[in-house]
Subunit: 332 residues, 2 copies
């Protein structure tokens, strides 16, 4: 491709679009199932129960310490399938590209997306690109849909009961804080990197533990929002112990300075699990044997209260309300 920036002609169905797809997207994403000449990909037979999920990605800036919108799009979709008890298999990709985007940047992003897909063992089997006029696009938006194969059927939110233990696989708020710092709008800099990663090693390590009833990756809205979703769905209470929740020092520092609560900030490579008390330490130990689970912790339990609360080390209790205002747009 001779151009350095995306133009409207890259979206019109003609030669420029074909070259962009062939020379950038298909070059990175090449696999036996991806055929850019077909309207639909023909997939191998899916054994058993298919599971399907979809996500949009609008993170700003497009590149941040620890990843970019491309790797994030794969991790987000792979993780939704992983925590739902599925083995991710195939991904489709939509790219909404703003006129004027640097092609070298797009190339880095799609290369990173391809690498993340390969590492997670998924193939990108179909895609579409649209080009938006300058001023109508925000650089780049991605949408990914994933299909996988159910590998366990014992996850069920309705099994959650008082006394169940709540675990998290690692420190919370890294992604949200890293993206915030990457915007440089606060005059802050730091070494913090996003936790964006496939959680498959974490979910595979615990998926067959019978007391496990629920897993979720705490993305938009963070840990506190997942806890509120569980509360909404089960009508049970949740009690978290503040001192047990792993949070990196850099995240705490930035959040204190800017007035954010790390419990509401996005993670992109963590898992929250709810487990019968008899199996909680087994989940904890299984996670701690994983590189990504070194800081895993039991952080609280299900209660019969009608709210989500955080117990402080000094014995106080704070309600973790459902999020109302937006702390941070375009974080994922």
């Amino acid at each position: 491709m001779q151009d350095t920036h995306i133009s409207l002609a890259h979206g019109n169905g003609g030669r420029y679009m074909r070259e962009l797809i062939e020379q950038l997207f298909a070059r990175h994403l090449d696999n036996p199932l991806l055929n850019t000449q077909l309207d639909a990909a023909r997939l191998p037979v899916i054994e058993g129960v298919p599971m399907m999920t979809t996500d949009g990605f609008t993170v700003q800036p497009l590149e941040f310490p620890g990843g970019n919108i491309g790797s994030l799009a794969i991790h987000g979709t792979v993780n939704d399938l992983a925590v739902a008890g599925a083995q991710p298999l195939y991904i489709t990709l939509n790219a909404f590209i703003e006129e004027g985007l640097e092609i070298a940047l797009l190339d880095r992003i799609i290369a990173s997306l391809a690498k993340a897909a390969e590492e997670a063992g998924v193939a990108v089997v179909a895609g579409d690109t649209k080009v938006l006029r300058q001023g109508e696009g925000g650089g780049l938006y991605l949408a990914t849909t994933g299909i996988g194969q159910q590998i366990t059927d014992h996850l069920d939110m309705q099994k959650i009961k008082p006394g169940d233990q709540i675990l998290v696989s690692g420190p919370v708020g890294d992604h949200g804080t890293a993206v915030m710092l990457a915007r440089e709008q606060f005059g802050l800099r730091g070494n913090l990197i996003s936790d964006s990663a496939s959680v498959l090693p974490l979910t595979r390590a615990v998926i067959n533990i019978p007391g496990l009833s629920f897993m979720r990756d705490p993305t938009r809205g963070g840990l506190a929002s997942v806890m509120n979703e569980v509360h909404q769905a089960t009508k049970l209470g949740i009690s978290l112990q503040q001192e047990y929740i792993p949070i990196n020092d850099a995240v705490n520092t930035v959040c204190e300075m800017l007035g954010y609560d790390p419990l509401y900030l996005a993670c992109e490579g963590r898992v929250v699990a709810i487990v019968d008390p008899s199996d909680a330490t087994q989940v904890l130990h299984a996670w701690k044997q994983q590189a990504a689970g070194q800081q895993a912790a039991i952080i609280g339990q299900i209660t019969q209260q009608n709210y989500v609360s955080l117990k402080t080390p000094l014995g106080g209790e704070r309600i973790l309300e459902e999020l109302e205002d937006d702390p941070l747009p375009r974080i994922c």
Copy 2:
């Protein structure tokens, strides 16, 4: 929902987002497979070969005569599966919503999307919404992914051979022209409506005819671009007869006034087919028995030339080049 317009809080993972999803999206799209509390939808077993496709939608204006971006998103994805020889089954939906979008408009669009899905016999099984800051979104973008079940395996571009007949199921260029008029930037008005529709009745009517080797819906880039794709893939030539190509008078008039070529304008409810000469009239008659196929026609044939050409009634010949410049951004 008490709000009248989308705000950033509708995208943050908290209460406003939940209400938007529950009270607008889930209300219209309700079906037994859609569970907004889960990370991934659990689907019935797919018999045989799954086929998968994806599309982004950016049409402007969001509503146009004959449809809106919601119905268009369903038709586009259903049609890609239909022309590839699959029965569409499940759809995922991503919505990128710009801050400030009127909620009543979004409601009409999602209602229309739900109606189109029901008519095409597909269920929306998973979705995601993101809210973009004002000035970063162009109103609304949608991305849909569809999965279906292959119902024929005899479609194959590599079977196309010289002498094969080329058919179109109805007049070309209606969608592109209708959207262009809806923008009102040319000071023109007309009665023309988009052809946006599911092509399933058309594809089902001919899918078992053995001489059928190829079907495609001529969307972005229009009929001429599909012909160029066939030429690229097969290295065979294509000769179209201008007087046999059905084009509505209103489309011809507008295109003449504005200098567009209707052969390059998008359709969203037409099918192009390539058929062995012995079966061409069977395809034609099967289409003419369908409401949407009244104006179906045999419009040309495959040749041994190395180009795509249009023969005029006066005996002239014009090359239909691959599209270079963009005639019309955000048309689909």
